[in-house]
């Protein structure tokens, strides 16, 4: 029982990650694929942040009289990763826009059909 209670954070992360992965694989719509990627990314963020959590600790800002803080290092890594995820999302969406202009569609199958016709 202790094992289940102690590890629930990882299981939430795995659940979210698999939802993201399923969307990326099964959805034909490119925008939805990017949303799936975002969910996948967030699950990794939650994984790191949950690693840094310490029972009874506070936010890592030095205050007199408190000696137990949560781990600041994963916070730093994820903070920058979130901003980078915005940049990559934007780049992905820009590609989607260009694909729409070139093919007139953002459905994977229709793009494939058009590609095959041109060959």
């Amino acid at each position: 029982m202790m094992m289940i209670l102690g590890l629930y954070n990882y299981w939430i992360v795995v659940g979210l990650m698999m939802i993201g992965l399923y969307i990326v694989i099964a959805q034909g719509n490119l925008v939805k694929k990017i949303v799936g990627l975002n969910i996948f990314q967030t699950s990794v963020f939650i994984f790191y942040i949950s690693l840094s959590k310490v029972d009874g600790g506070t936010a890592p800002i030095l205050v007199d009289g408190i000696s137990l803080y949560s781990n600041p290092l994963p916070h730093v890594l994820i903070l920058t990763a979130i901003v980078v995820s915005l940049a990559t999302t934007a780049l992905g969406l820009a590609l989607v826009v260009r694909i729409k202009e070139a093919y007139g569609s953002i459905e994977e199958e229709e793009i494939q059909i058009k590609d095959n016709q041109e060959c």
Binding site: F45, H75, L77
Partner: protein, 308 residues
């Protein structure tokens, strides 16, 4: 769907607060819930909101997902418990950051001192990645506007933006405060949650709000695109120059101790300048990204109108 992903961003931000990661929560709230959602919406506006739901082989995908998930769950059985003080991740460099960062860096917010000083090289890499993404969006979406198109588009816009009077007036009052708040977040990063990344995004959000409510042509008149692009480079350069200056003073790249007579004062100076560089770079790149997306919409609409 885009709104849902925005709500999801906000939810994960509150999740981060409960896990004591205030800096991260701040970033996620402004990016996941704000800017990402906005970009999704602009993309959907361009690509059309209807979807032909042809899913391919959901069974195979489900099988892959379940097998991977089961393996990952199996792997978690070896992991330390949630909130464990003795977890390996919390034993390595963390005690040093917590005990010595006050004496070495002199900044209250440990996240800031790790971000901007201990791991400054990493952060420099991240800023360059963001800058590169900005260039990428520019390369994919930007185009030369012809002046005569511009005039027609702006007349289209004015008729559209005359609606929503209340929203416009309220936001016009709010925008200066948002900008002020961004500056507060920028310079208060040493003492509380905040810093260049968050401040940059909030600053950009204020300008994006202005562009959304008053139309791209008005926003373009207020904010020169070339100027913004120049500043994106200036932000990254500012960060790099701090490193070069510390090298010239005899230290390592991005070693702020040598920037001043007193090592702690040097650290303060270094952190202040690189946070400023990060703030400028992030704000300008987000503005560039949004402006290019919004311009595409304007042009597409314009082409449709012409055909009609």
């Amino acid at each position: 769907m885009a709104m849902l992903s925005g709500i999801y961003g906000l939810l994960s931000a509150s999740l981060f607060v409960t896990m004591d990661a205030v800096d991260v929560a701040f970033t996620e709230a402004s990016i996941g819930a704000g800017i990402s959602t906005l970009l999704m919406l602009t993309t959907i506006a361009m690509t059309g909101r209807t979807e032909h739901s042809v899913r391919h082989k959901p069974l195979l995908a489900l099988a892959v997902v379940f097998v991977t998930g089961a393996l990952l769950i199996y792997a978690t059985l070896d992991m330390p418990y949630f909130g464990d003080v003795m977890a390996p991740a919390n034993l390595h460099v963390m005690p040093r950051y917590i005990q010595d960062s006050m004496a070495e860096i002199g900044v209250d917010n440990i996240v800031t001192s790790v971000l901007a000083s201990y791991r400054a090289f990493d952060t420099f890499g991240e800023v360059v990645v963001i800058f590169t993404a900005g260039i990428g969006v520019l390369a994919l979406l930007s185009f030369a506007r012809r002046p005569e198109d511009d005039a027609e588009i702006s007349s289209d816009n004015i008729s559209m933006h005359e609606q929503n009077l209340i929203v416009r007036i309220v936001s016009k009052i709010l925008i200066p405060f948002i900008l002020l708040f961004a500056l507060y977040v920028q310079f208060h990063g040493d003492f509380g949650p905040g810093g260049g990344f968050q401040a940059g995004v909030i600053f950009a959000a204020a300008i994006i709000l202005y562009a959304m409510l008053f139309g791209m042509s008005v926003a373009r008149r207020a904010i020169n695109q070339t100027f913004v692009q120049l500043f994106a480079a200036v932000g990254v350069l500012l960060y790099g120059m701090v490193g070069v200056v510390s090298m010239l003073n005899g230290g390592n790249f991005l070693d702020y101790n040598v920037l001043s007579e007193d090592p702690v004062a040097g650290q303060h100076l270094g952190i202040l300048i690189i946070e400023l560089g990060v703030g400028i770079a992030v704000a300008t790149v987000v503005i560039i990204i949004f402006f290019n997306f919004a311009d595409r919409i304007d042009i597409l609409k314009h082409k449709v109108n012409k055909k009609l």
